[in-house]
Structure formats: structure tokens, C-alpha cells
């Protein structure tokens, strides 16, 4: 029997990410409670065992990411989730995952910092997420959902990319996205975890040479060789995996650039302003690393004096990537707010009016 209409259920971003992970074949989750992502951990605690998967409430975020490292080394699709201060603690483990080329999915439902900060939405971990975050020359693939449905869908993509590239993938959301509820179309998927062979995993050396998962290269020249392999992989990812959304930019005098929650707020404003005849558009990076340089570079807009307005819940992080991508070809303005406050459409509109 064909179900004519896929079932929609109302889920919070946190719950949708958890459900998406389960449907995407996540076999192992470890995490430590922290607001505003607690619903994610709680959802996993209930539903992972129901699906014969493994859930561990770890003793710390550090332990959680290292458990993910172990589960991944053993060949399982593994993930952890946390919010900003907890993600800082995970950086050691993320660096080791990248160095050992182990796939993993890490969810950061960002809250405001620095330090303990507060529990409200923020996008101030952009640098940490896109520049590696821990020590050494490495990158995580970073996906930024801007709706609950997209957060759900990106979990499939995250596990897929992690396995494909043997690299950690981060979902970068924020408290607004994690807490809000929206309808989600649930896709039942089977066997996604079996798509990629993992001949490198430590499973016991029956019938083969032993495997070692490691990031240590002490002999002279070995680490450089390993790093060049990583760099080549990263170059391939940059070439193939850039993803972004464009909305009414063709004739736009001002193109807003925003990601995640901020992008949906900006998109609603663009729609409103278009009704009033204002030529405003939006570019929404979906992958933050690789940054969608192609959305900006080598474009000769028909609109003269086009300006870009980068809007972030931070005091200016992604704006640097926009400037690097445009290479000075257009003027880039910035509007930011950080500390738990969400930029309103009225605030963005004031800035737009000042620019026109």
C-alpha cells in the first residue's frame, strides 16, 4: 500500500535531529546533558535502545567524544551532541577523529558565550566549527540547518558525508532551532549504515592483517605525508560539497547573507520587503565548511553597486568568509548581535534602510 501523504509530526529541532540520526542508521550515541540541547539526549535515551542501538550518558563531554571515537573505530555510525561549552570540551576528541580519519557526527546547538555565557541562541561558534576547533591542520564538514525539517534531513547527509570522507561532520544549529517545533515529514530508511565498507575498522584481525586506528606519526616525514593526504581530501570536499540556497538575488541591490536560524528570519523579511517592491535578496550558506565560495566568486552581478549585508548572531565571524569569497569585488556590511539576543526583522530592516 502506498501512503499518499507522508506522515508529518510536530517535533522540536532537537528531537528531529535525534530522530533523523536514528533513521540515518546511527548505531551509537554518547552525550552529557547541557541546555539547550537536552531534548536531543533524552530522545536518544528513549529511542536508541528501542531500536537496538547503543546510548550512553557519559561522565563528561570529553568522555562522550572519545566514546564516539571508539565506536567509530569499531565501525559503527556514531554521534554525540552538546552545546557550546560542551563542544569546547570535545575539541581534543574531534582533532583525534580528524587525525585518525574516523567518521563521526557532532551536533552543536549553540548558546551564547564566552565562558558559561547563557543558554539562549547564538552563532558565535562559527570560527570554532569551521576552522577545526582543536589543534592541528584539520577541518570538519559543517552543515547549518535553518528549519526543523532541514535539521532532520541533514542527519542523513551528515552520516553519509562522514562515511564517504572518513571525517567528522558537525551540525551547527542554535538554541532557537533546537527548541522550536515545526512539522517534520518522517522518512523511514533502512540499511544506510551498510553503504560504506569499513575495512579499516578494528573488529578483530580474523582472516586479515591487523588494523590500527591512530593519528600518531613519529617517524620523520610521516606526519607531513599524512597531513598532505588530509589536505588533498579537504580540497576535494571544497570542490564537491559546497551547498547554499539563493533567494531572489538576481536583481537584488542588497543581498543578505545569513545561515541557520538567522537565515530564516532574514528570508521572511526579504519576502515581506519584496511585496513592498524593495530589491532585496538572500544567500544562505548550507555548508559552512566548505564555505560556498562559488555563491560569491566569479559572479558579475548586473546590479551595479550591489551590497552584501551579513547578518549573524555573533559580532562578525562568517562575514570574514564572505569578504574572502568576494575578494573585494563588492562592499560587505555587517549586522550582528551576540549574548543571547536574536536579531529581529525590524533591526535588520533599519540597517537595510541605512544602506539604501
Amino acid at each position: 500500500m502506498v501512503n499518499p501523504k507522508p506522515k508529518k509530526i510536530l517535533l522540536s529541532g532537537n528531537e528531529a535531529i535525534a530522530e533523523g540520526a536514528i533513521q540515518a542508521g546511527c548505531q551509537f550515541y554518547a552525550g552529557y546533558p547541557i541546555t539547550p540541547q537536552n531534548e536531543l539526549t533524552a530522545y536518544m535515551a528513549k529511542h536508541m535502545p528501542e531500536n537496538n542501538r547503543i546510548f550512553i550518558q557519559s561522565e563528561s563531554e570529553t568522555a562522550a567524544i572519545n566514546m564516539v571515537y571508539g565506536a567509530s573505530a569499531a565501525g559503527a555510525r556514531a554521534m554525540t551532541s552538546s552545546s557550546s561549552p560542551g563542544i569546547s570540551l570535545k575539541q581534543e576528541g574531534i582533532s583525534y577523529l580528524a587525525g585518525a580519519e574516523l567518521p563521526a557526527v557532532i551536533v552543536n546547538i549553540m548558546r551564547a558565550g564566552p565562558g558559561l555565557g547563557n543558554i539562549w541562541p547564538s552563532q558565535a561558534d562559527y570560527f570554532q566549527a569551521t576552522r577545526g576547533g582543536g589543534h592541528g591542520d584539520y577541518r570538519c564538514i559543517v552543515l547549518a540547518p535553518s528549519s526543523v525539517q532541514e535539521a532532520y534531513g541533514q542527519m542523513f547527509k551528515a552520516f553519509e558525508l562522514a562515511d564517504k570522507y572518513r571525517n567528522p561532520v558537525m551540525i551547527l544549529g542554535d538554541g532557537l532551532l533546537g527548541q522550536m517545533m515545526e512539522p517534520v515529514e518522517i522518512v523511514k530508511a533502512e540499511g544506510l549504515d551498510a553503504k560504506y565498507d569499513k575495512p579499516w575498522a578494528v573488529t578483530g584481525c580474523k582472516g586479515r592483517e591487523r588494523n590500527i586506528t591512530k593519528s600518531f606519526h613519529m617517524n620523520e616525514g610521516d606526519l607531513e605525508k599524512a597531513n598532505l593526504i588530509l589536505q588533498k581530501k579537504y580540497a576535494g570536499i571544497q570542490k564537491k560539497e559546497q551547498d547554499w540556497e539563493e533567494f531572489l538575488i538576481k536583481d537584488a541591490k542588497i543581498v543578505i547573507v545569513a545561515y541557520g536560524s538567522m537565515a530564516r528570519i532574514a528570508k521572511g523579511l526579504v519576502r515581506k520587503l519584496r511585496q513592498g517592491g524593495m530589491r532585496i535578496g538572500l544567500i544562505r550558506p548550507v555548508t559552512l565548511w566548505p564555505f560556498p565560495v562559488k555563491a560569491f566568486a566569479n559572479r558579475k552581478p548586473k546590479v551595479s553597486n550591489r551590497k552584501f549585508l551579513v547578518v549573524e548572531m555573533s559580532y562578525g565571524q562568517m562575514v570574514e568568509d564572505v569578504r574572502l569569497s568576494l575578494e573585494g569585488s563588492s562592499k560587505v556590511e555587517f549586522l550582528g548581535r551576540s549574548g543571547g539576543g536574536v536579531l529581529t526583522q525590524a533591526q535588520i530592516l533599519r540597517k537595510i534602510k541605512a544602506l539604501l
Partner: protein, 243 residues
């Protein structure tokens, strides 16, 4: 006709180790390799190796291994065993790894009663980084960071992590053995074997603490190092079954 009564274990690769003369790591590696062979688990065992002098233990063993970040071996091993309960998973950790930077992971893996085997090398000093104080450094013992000797007022007391862990209901078996003599080494092998057998029998968390010589950073000859274990170390860390 002759019988082979002694040979290199299949689980040990035929290469020289990087350890200093008189170091206990090479002996402990071999004991583990012998036990793995004798229990016929080479093809199912997964070792989790530490940061410290034994960081490249995986080069010497001929079975699957995963490196773990400093102190995180038991978190990594927890996950490997949960994902692959059919495999035999052990950690090999020094005193800094297990009882300083990784204390949290150690206590909680033990407290969860993870069905794991943990081999803990206590040599009362940090070797890889150049002979600094370990959590297990004895009072009065001179190290690169306790130049006039460990002083409890400044550095606290030698940490008896095995006794601490024995309090946890999730722990099945803990034994401390001094590798100070051939007899001690035979006892060590017996304890290691039991710790692996426990896992095979799904009995829970097992830990073997090996008092192990580090002549280089104790500033003594290999022979003197064995005497120091027997006469000094065992006063603070008495050998025997703790649980």
C-alpha cells in the same frame, strides 16, 4: 625429537622495542601477547593503547589496536566493547594516563562495570616526557618536577587508584603485582590471564596494576630498580589481590 617449549608469541611482532634497558613495558607487552595466544583470542582481541611511553604498543602487538587520546582509553574501550561485545577489548595505560589525566574516565568505566580488561603500568614517574612527577610518585622521590623529592604538603600523596576502584560495586577483579623478579613476572602473567578470562566470562571490569621498573627516570641501574620496587614501592603499593 625435540619440543618447542619457548618461542615468540604469535601476538608479538618480530621487531625491537624502543624502550630503555631495564624498562618493564617490554615484559608486560610480552605477557599480554602470551596470554592472548594461550586464550586463542588474537583474532578477536582489540587493544586500546595510551599516550605515554607505550604510545606505540600497537607496533609491537600483532592484533587490532586503536590509539586513544591521553587518559581516554577506557572511554574509547567502553564504546568499542559496547559496539562489538563479541570481541575482547583491553586497555594498556600508564599511571599518568590512568590515574591523572584520565581519572574521570577510569572511575566511570569501572563504576559502569564495563566488561573490560585494564592493564595498568605503575612506574611512579612520567617516562615519555622526561621523568616528571606521576600521581603514583612516592613521597621523597625526586623527579624533574619534584626536584627535592615529592612533598605531600605541595604535591599530595601517592594515589592508590586500585584501592579506590576496589570500592566500586561494578568492579569484578583488581590485583597488584610487583614485576621485581621472575616470580613476580609469573604472578603478573597469571593476573593478566585472569583479567582476560573474566571478560571472556562476561564477569565485568578487571584491572591488573603492574609495579614496573623505570631505571632511566629513577636514576638507577636496572638491577637497582628491581630492588627499589621490592623495598620501596611495595611499601606504598602492597602487592596482592585487592578485589
Amino acid at each position: 625429537m625435540s619440543d618447542v617449549i619457548y618461542s615468540r608469541p604469535k601476538s608479538l611482532n618480530n621487531i625491537s622495542t624502543h624502550y630503555c634497558p631495564g624498562c618493564g613495558h617490554g615484559i608486560a607487552h610480552r605477557l599480554i601477547a602470551e596470554v592472548v595466544d594461550e586464550l586463542n583470542i588474537r583474532e578477536s582481541v582489540i587493544g586500546v593503547t595510551p599516550i605515554g611511553c607505550a604510545v606505540i604498543a600497537y607496533d609491537y602487538w600483532n592484533f587490532d589496536c586503536s590509539e586513544a587520546a591521553h587518559g581516554r582509553a577506557l572511554a574509547v574501550a567502553t564504546a568499542i566493547k559496547r559496539v562489538r561485545p563479541q570481541n575482547i577489548v583491553f586497555t594498556y595505560q600508564g599511571d599518568g594516563d590512568l590515574a591523572a589525566i584520565g581519572t574521570n574516565e577510569t572511575i566511570h568505566a569501572a563504576n559502569r562495570g564495563e566488561n573490560l580488561t585494564c592493564i595498568f603500568i605503575n612506574n611512579a614517574v612520567y617516562g615519555m616526557t622526561g621523568g616528571q612527577m606521576a600521581p603514583t610518585t612516592l613521597l621523597g622521590q625526586k623527579t624533574a618536577t619534584t626536584i627535592t623529592g615529592r612533598d605531600q604538603k605541595l604535591h599530595g600523596y601517592p594515589l592508590k587508584i586500585s584501592e579506590m576502584l576496589a570500592l566500586l560495586p561494578g568492579v569484578k577483579y583488581i590485583e597488584r603485582v610487583a614485576m621485581d623478579s621472575p616470580q613476580g613476572i609469573l604472578k603478573a602473567k597469571k593476573a593478566i590471564r585472569l583479567a582476560f578470562e573474566n571478560q571472556i566470562n562476561n564477569a565485568g571490569f578487571s584491572l591488573v596494576e603492574l609495579l614496573s621498573p623505570c631505571p632511566t627516570y629513577w636514576g638507577v641501574s636496572p638491577k637497582e630498580a628491581l630492588r627499589w620496587i621490592k623495598e620501596e614501592m611495595t611499601k606504598v603499593f602492597p602487592p596482592g589481590r585487592i578485589k
